[in-house]
Every structure is written in structure tokens, then in C-alpha cells.
């Protein structure tokens, strides 16, 4: 039971001692990515080995003689592609292992946990160099981890570990040493801007809510990270749920709210589970509920699960969904700060925004302003995916260039491919090209080029990606997810999708491009909500930077990237063809003819491009000509 400041400080002190008492900590990454590659089994195996080894103590007891080893499930350690990831930490020395299999566990335990050896073959390697500690790995060394500081270091399911890492010191400071107005002021002065995409100053929002005459107020967290290709917020919720909750508690204190809601996407079951666990633990210890730490401040946390509607990432749709309604945006004003959840003043920020708050309170606004750019202080998390060497979760100061992110941190294109474009900001964002690689990323700078930082999904594309197809892909997503309330978005996205489909199917006409641009501009200016307004951005930005590709699809019926199946021509290479006739047998439409033991021939007019011939050929004799 923690019911006053003293008790909290004592609990933190004890938690710190307990952590310091470990001779060795085995940190098993338990982010969604590593769980998918089997890290739960690795965790179980280490628990079993540690439990079976004489002289090893897993549960801490003071004055115990044995060697104290902790096996912990941490948040995302970053390099998801090389999972399952395991770190062996002894004091301030940590070794990072990658692609750990169950059969490796005993060896790691014997050599690295008990012994002082390193299992060389499991180390992270890049361009022939092996790296021991995670801090040395270029992918991690070039990052600035504030929001993600605890991910990979502490148990994501333990309040005590969060305390040991300095958790809740910011909340304490706010609650006991600052007035609510001072907290709002600190956030305002820090220049923290909403990380959900819009970049609206968080402090201004808080200030507006704090001065509403209505006293019943709400703090809502948008964890409906719907952008395909983005998983930063999910990683924070599952990797450091306490930090998010602490941020929301500080917001609750600052604006005088007693209730916080987190709206989590349905596709993140692990985030829901970890948040529920954290809330339960905090409630059990009186850190959530009535009269927290013996003060007047009461705060209750609630979790709402999304139900598969992308539009619920929009503020007014999200609050409608919490209220039990269809998640449709409404006309603004009144804005959420005046009439949000249940028509009461509401602070609505996303996960990353709240997760930034504790550090700002603790270290002050000036410290925060020293990171990032003048207009957008602080860091930004990005999920780095697509055709890139190191995929994963990163955090860098605002103002970092795409070149640094893609080439220094991401290690360049996968398999030495050629960079073509990077899609930023998800379906509401745009594509940037080679010429934009040196633009410092912040909310203002890239708007000029028709893209947005958005929530932070970065999908890198190489020259095997067809930009027209990418535009069609995003449009089919937004068209499907359009809630249907306003005409420009409902009809506009549908018509744009039809045009794009016509082009990728090889039936495009040149005037389609003008129509497409006209529609896109119209939807952008007329749609009701932010999602509708930004839906045409992928089309507009590909039209701006890759118009030649559109034209090629229309006039030459050619797809350079060999992606658009309607434009692919399947050909049999006479050098490899043995004339076995298997392809002719496999062809569902009888497009392949020939004589046994001689080279067969595909009739392009009959071919439906199903690839059955190619898949079945034992001699790799069939290739795509474009």
C-alpha cells in the first residue's frame, strides 16, 4: 500500500536496491515482434534453466547467499527483424544477442550468465563487424531514446522496476511541488507538440481545458494507431505502459480531471493486456483511485478497445466510439477541449505525447527545448519498415534528416537495392524522394513537400516498388475506411480509386490524370475531418514526384517496377526450357502451347498473368518481361 509520498519514495528505494542486488539480468524482448518469433518460449526456457541450476536465486530475498539472476520480459529492444532478442546485463555492462533459439539458451546461461564469456555467433553483425553492447550497435547508437528509454531495460510488467528506473518521480514532483497551473505552464513552455500527426501544441490544449467553466473533465489517450506500417505507440503501450499512465495522471492533475481513458486498437491485444496489468497493479497499491498518495487528487483509468475502424483515430470519432456510438467525426467547433467526451472538456493526446510528459516535468521545459528543432522540440519515434536493412523501432531528435534515418540508422536499402522513395505518415502522408533526403524532419519542414510527419510510419521503397500501385493501395485503404458521413470523402475516394484501378489495369487515359488531380484537390479542401482531408495526399505526392510513372502506365502500358500484373508479359527463355510441357499443363487458360522437348510459347493475348507456369517450372525458364 502506497498512500503518501514517503511510502512511494521508500518503495522506489527498495526497488532500486532489489535491482542493484542482481548479479545478472536476462532481458528477453517481449514486444509484439519478438513474441511472434518465439521469445515467450525463450523466456520460459531461461526461467527453467535458472530454476534448475543449483545456487541460482530468481526471487530476491535479502541476505540470500545464492547468485541472484533475474529473467525479465522487456519492451521492444528495437531490431525486430533479428528477434528473438535477448540482453544479458551485469551491472552497467550489457550484451545484446540476436536470433536466440531455445537450443542457445543453455549455452548463453553457462557462458554469459554464470561465466564471463560471450557467445560470439549470436552477436549483432553489420558489414562484417560484430557488436557486443546494444549501445555500440549503429542502429541504436545513433538514436536518442527518451520515450523508449525503458524499453529493453526493465520488466514491462512490473511497477517496481518502473519505480527503480525513476518512474513516478515526475508525478510526485507535479503533485507535491507544483500547482496544476505550473504543470500546464511547464508543458506549454516545453513546446511539446501532439505526436499523433497534427502537431498541435499540447500545452495550449491543456490550458484551454483547464480554463473551461465546466468542472467535469476528461483525459483521453488516442492509442488507435491505425496507420498501416506504424507501430510506435503500440510499442510504448506494451513496452512501458507505466510511463503512459504516469503522463496521463500528470495531465489529470494539471487540468483537474479524475478520469482517464485509453482507446487501444483491437489489433493490439498485448497492449491491452499490459495496460490492464499495469492499471490493476497501480490500483492495488493505491497509486490509482481516490485520494492518491493521501492528497485530494483522484484519478481512475479506463481502457476501451477499438473495433476495427480506422476513422476512430480522429478525435471526435474516438470519443463517439468510447460513448458507445458509431465512430464518426462531427463538425467542429465546438472543439474537443470544450466539448469532447460526453460533451465535457477533454484533453485528447496520443500515446507518445503523454509518454513525453514525465521527462518534461522532471527535467524542465528548457531541457526539453534543447532537444530537437526550435519549432518542434523533443524526439520522435518512427517505425522503420519496408525495403530496408534494419527494420524496427527508432527514436531520434526532431530535425534529423531522412538520410541519417535511412542510411545511418537503417543501414541503407535491403540487399543493396536502389532507393526510390520513402512513404511517410501512412495513408494520410506522402512520398518523398531522393531530393528530400537532407530535409530536417519536423512538422513544418516536410509539409512544404506535400508529406506529413504523421504518427511516424516510415516505409522505405526501392525500385521494385510501383508508385502508381502504392497510390492505389493507399486509396483502397482510405476508401474502405471512409466512414461515409461526408460526400467529398465517401464519393471522392471511391472515384479516385476507380481511376487508379483503371490505370494499373492498363486502361488509363491521359485525361484521367487531370481528373485525379482535380478530385484529390477537392477532397483535400472539402472533407469533414482530418482523415478525409489527408486521404488524397498519397495521390497528390506521387503525381507530383512520379508523374512519369503514371504516364508510362497510360501511354506505354508499361510498369517499370514489374508490379502491375496487367502490364507484365510472361516469356519462356529458350535457353532454359527443356520442353517438358509442365507449364502448358499448369496453365488454367490454355495460353501455353508447344512441342515436347522444344521450347514452349506463351500467348500474351490469352495469358491471365496468374504465375502458375512460373511457380511450376522446375528450370526457372519463365520470366517476366516489362
Amino acid at each position: 500500500m502506497i498512500d503518501n509520498r514517503d511510502a512511494l519514495q521508500k518503495a522506489a528505494e527498495q526497488a532500486k536496491q532489489e535491482i542493484a542486488s542482481y548479479d545478472c539480468r536476462i532481458l528477453v524482448c517481449s514486444g509484439t515482434g519478438c513474441i511472434a518469433t518465439g521469445s515467450q518460449k525463450i523466456y520460459d526456457e531461461f526461467m527453467k534453466i535458472a530454476g534448475d541450476t543449483p545456487g541460482i536465486v530468481i526471487d530476491f530475498k535479502p541476505h540470500d547467499e545464492g547468485k541472484h539472476v533475474g529473467v525479465k520480459k522487456t519492451g521492444c529492444q528495437g531490431v525486430c527483424e533479428l528477434g528473438p532478442l535477448v540482453r544479458i546485463q551485469k551491472g552497467d555492462k550489457t550484451v545484446q544477442y540476436t536470433k536466440v533459439q531455445i537450443s542457445d539458451c543453455q549455452e548463453i546461461f553457462d557462458r554469459s550468465v554464470i561465466g564471463k564469456d560471450i557467445v560470439e555467433r549470436l552477436l549483432y553483425k553489420q558489414k562484417g563487424v560484430s557488436y557486443k553492447s546494444p549501445e555500440e550497435i549503429p542502429f541504436i547508437a545513433k538514436q536518442t531514446r527518451l520515450v523508449l528509454e525503458n524499453c529493453g531495460k526493465f520488466d514491462a510488467e512490473s511497477f517496481d522496476e518502473y519505480l527503480a528506473g525513476g518512474g513516478f518521480t515526475a508525478f510526485q514532483k507535479a503533485l507535491f511541488d507544483m500547482t496544476p497551473d505550473e504543470v500546464v505552464d511547464a508543458v506549454d513552455k516545453s513546446g511539446l507538440r501532439g505526436r499523433g500527426g497534427g502537431g498541435f501544441p499540447a500545452g495550449r490544449k491543456w490550458k484551454q481545458v483547464a480554463r473551461q467553466p465546466e468542472k467535469e473533465r476528461y483525459v483521453v489517450c488516442n492509442g488507435d494507431e491505425g496507420d498501416p506500417g506504424a507501430f510506435m505507440d503500440g510499442s510504448v503501450m506494451e513496452g512501458d505502459p507505466y510511463k503512459l499512465i504516469e503522463g496521463m495522471m500528470i495531465a489529470g492533475y494539471a487540468v483537474g480531471s479524475a478520469n482517464g481513458y485509453i482507446y487501444v486498437r483491437a489489433e493490439y491485444p498485448m497492449s491491452v493486456a499490459r495496460l490492464r496489468h499495469a492499471i490493476k497493479e497501480l490500483e492495488d497499491r493505491n497509486m490509482l483511485g481516490d485520494n492518491i498518495l493521501g492528497t485530494e487528487f483522484s484519478f481512475h483509468m479506463h481502457i476501451n478497445r477499438g473495433a476495427g475502424a480506422f476513422v476512430c483515430g480522429e478525435g471526435s470519432a474516438l470519443t463517439a466510439s468510447i460513448e458507445g456510438n458509431r465512430g464518426m467525426p462531427r463538425v467542429k467547433p465546438p472543439r474537443t477541449v470544450e466539448k469532447g467526451l460526453w460533451a465535457k472538456p477533454t484533453v485528447l493526446n496520443n500515446v507518445e505525447t503523454y509518454a513525453n510528459v514525465p521527462k518534461i516535468i522532471l527535467n524542465g521545459p528548457d531541457w526539453y527545448r534543447s532537444i530537437g528543432t526550435e519549432g518542434t522540440p523533443g524526439t520522435k519515434t518512427f517505425s522503420l519498415t519496408g525495403s530496408i536493412e534494419n527494420t524496427g523501432l527508432i527514436e531520434v531528435p526532431m530535425g534529423t534528416t531522412l538520410r541519417e534515418i535511412i542510411f545511418d540508422i537503417g543501414g541503407g536499402l535491403k540487399d543493396g537495392g536502389t532507393f526510390k522513395a520513402v512513404q511517410i505518415g501512412g495513408p494520410s502522408g506522402g512520398c518523398l524522394t531522393e531530393e528530400h533526403l537532407d530535409v530536417p524532419l519536423d512538422f513544418e519542414s516536410i509539409k512544404k513537400y506535400g508529406a506529413i510527419v504523421g504518427s511516424g510510419g516510415l516505409v522505405v521503397m526501392d525500385d521494385h516498388t510501383c508508385m502508381v500501385e502504392v497510390a492505389r493501395f493507399f486509396m483502397s485503404f482510405t476508401q474502405r475506411e471512409s466512414c461515409g458521413k461526408c460526400v467529398p470523402c465517401r464519393e471522392g475516394t471511391k472515384r479516385m480509386l476507380e481511376i487508379l484501378e483503371k490505370i494499373v489495369n492498363g486502361n488509363g487515359e491521359l485525361e484521367d490524370l487531370d481528373k485525379l488531380e482535380e478530385l484529390a484537390t477537392m477532397v483535400k479542401s472539402m472533407a469533414l475531418c482530418g482523415l478525409g482531408k489527408s486521404a488524397p495526399l498519397p495521390v497528390l505526392s506521387t503525381l507530383r514526384y512520379f508523374k512519369d510513372e503514371y504516364i508510362e502506365h497510360i501511354t506505354d502500358k508499361k510498369c517499370k517496377a514489374k508490379v502491375c500484373s496487367a502490364m507484365r508479359r510472361f516469356v519462356i527463355n529458350p535457353e532454359y526450357c527443356k520442353g517438358c510441357g509442365k507449364c502448358a499443363k499448369n496453365c488454367p487458360v490454355g495460353a501455353i502451347t508447344g512441342v515436347r522437348k522444344e521450347c514452349y510459347h506463351i500467348d500474351p493475348n490469352i495469358c491471365i498473368k496468374c504465375e502458375a507456369c512460373m511457380d511450376g517450372c522446375a528450370f526457372d525458364a519463365i520470366y517476366v518481361e516489362s
Binding site: 509484439t32 511472434a36 496507420d227 510499442s235 489489433e267 458509431r326 517505425s383 519496408g386 527494420t391
Partner: protein, 159 residues
């Protein structure tokens, strides 16, 4: 007519979330969690219990993609077609599932009620694209060959 146990289960779930309009979505989620679909009669019952009209309950249920009035299979397979998975070729993964299980864009569930195949916009494991989620487990770096392995593994669990 639904079996009486359905109503008992619904009552338990309603009691947990409270008889108020705002409980509609979590109640429907839990009912679907138990039965793998949302029986229409039960939704009518829930609406009356929490004090909203039947029309309202249906309007909400049909708005969200996750709710289904059709029974789903024991294994709900969600093939991710998010951007990262899409550029790393998720389309052949979906095709492989559909082909192997005799399903299509129109028919999502096998006749033996074992498998339902759908797409999802992002599972948040983009670093391991292309991915597939079976119930709540994410399977990384899928290939059409691994699809066949996965199906036979799941079928094996039920022998």
C-alpha cells in the same frame, strides 16, 4: 431460437460492464469473444437491457469491421496487408490461404467452421513483414510455403 445459455452469458457480461448505453461496444466485443460472432437475437436482447433501441445497436454493430453476424471459424486468420507487409508481398500469402482452404474474397469461412481468413490493415509487427495473425498469435516473415505448414499444424491440433 438461441439456447438459454446464450442469454445467461450475456447477462454476466452486461452485469460486468453495467447497464448503460456506453457499455454497448465492450459487451458486443466480449460476446463475440465467446461465440466468435454476434448472434442477432442476442444483440436485440442486449439493446433492451442497456436501454438503447435495437436500431441503434445494429447501427453500431454494422459500423465496426470487427463485428460479424456470421459465425466465424475456430481459427481466425488475419493476413496483414499493411504498407510494410504489402511492399514485402503479402498478396501471395492471402492467395495461398484462400487456395489451400478453398476460400475466396466472398467466402471467408470453411464449411467445417475451422478457419476464417480475412485481411487486416496492420498488426504492428511491421519489422517482420509479411505477417499473419491466428487468433491472437502473430506469425512472422510468412511465405506461401509457411502458409501450408501453418495450416497443417493447426489441423494437427484438432486430431
Amino acid at each position: 431460437m438461441l439456447d438459454q445459455t446464450f442469454y445467461q452469458k450475456a447477462d454476466e457480461i452486461i452485469a460486468f460492464y453495467g447497464k448503460k448505453p456506453a457499455s454497448l461496444i465492450p459487451i458486443m466485443q466480449d460476446i463475440q469473444g465467446v461465440y466468435r460472432y454476434l448472434p442477432g437475437e442476442l444483440l436485440t436482447y442486449v439493446a433492451a437491457q442497456i436501454g438503447i433501441t435495437e436500431a441503434k445497436a445494429y447501427s453500431v454493430a454494422t459500423f465496426y469491421e470487427n463485428f460479424s453476424f456470421e459465425p466465424k471459424g475456430k481459427y481466425i486468420i488475419k493476413v496483414c496487408d499493411g504498407t510494410a507487409c504489402h511492399v514485402r508481398k503479402s498478396a501471395p500469402i492471402l492467395e495461398a490461404f484462400q487456395k489451400e482452404l478453398g476460400l475466396s474474397a466472398k467466402k471467408h469461412t470453411t464449411d467445417d467452421m475451422m478457419f476464417t481468413v480475412e485481411t487486416v490493415s496492420c498488426l504492428g509487427a511491421c519489422g517482420l513483414a509479411p505477417t499473419v495473425m491466428v487468433n491472437e498469435d502473430v506469425h512472422p516473415k510468412m511465405t506461401p510455403e509457411k502458409v501450408l505448414e501453418l495450416i497443417s499444424e493447426l489441423r494437427g491440433e484438432n486430431k
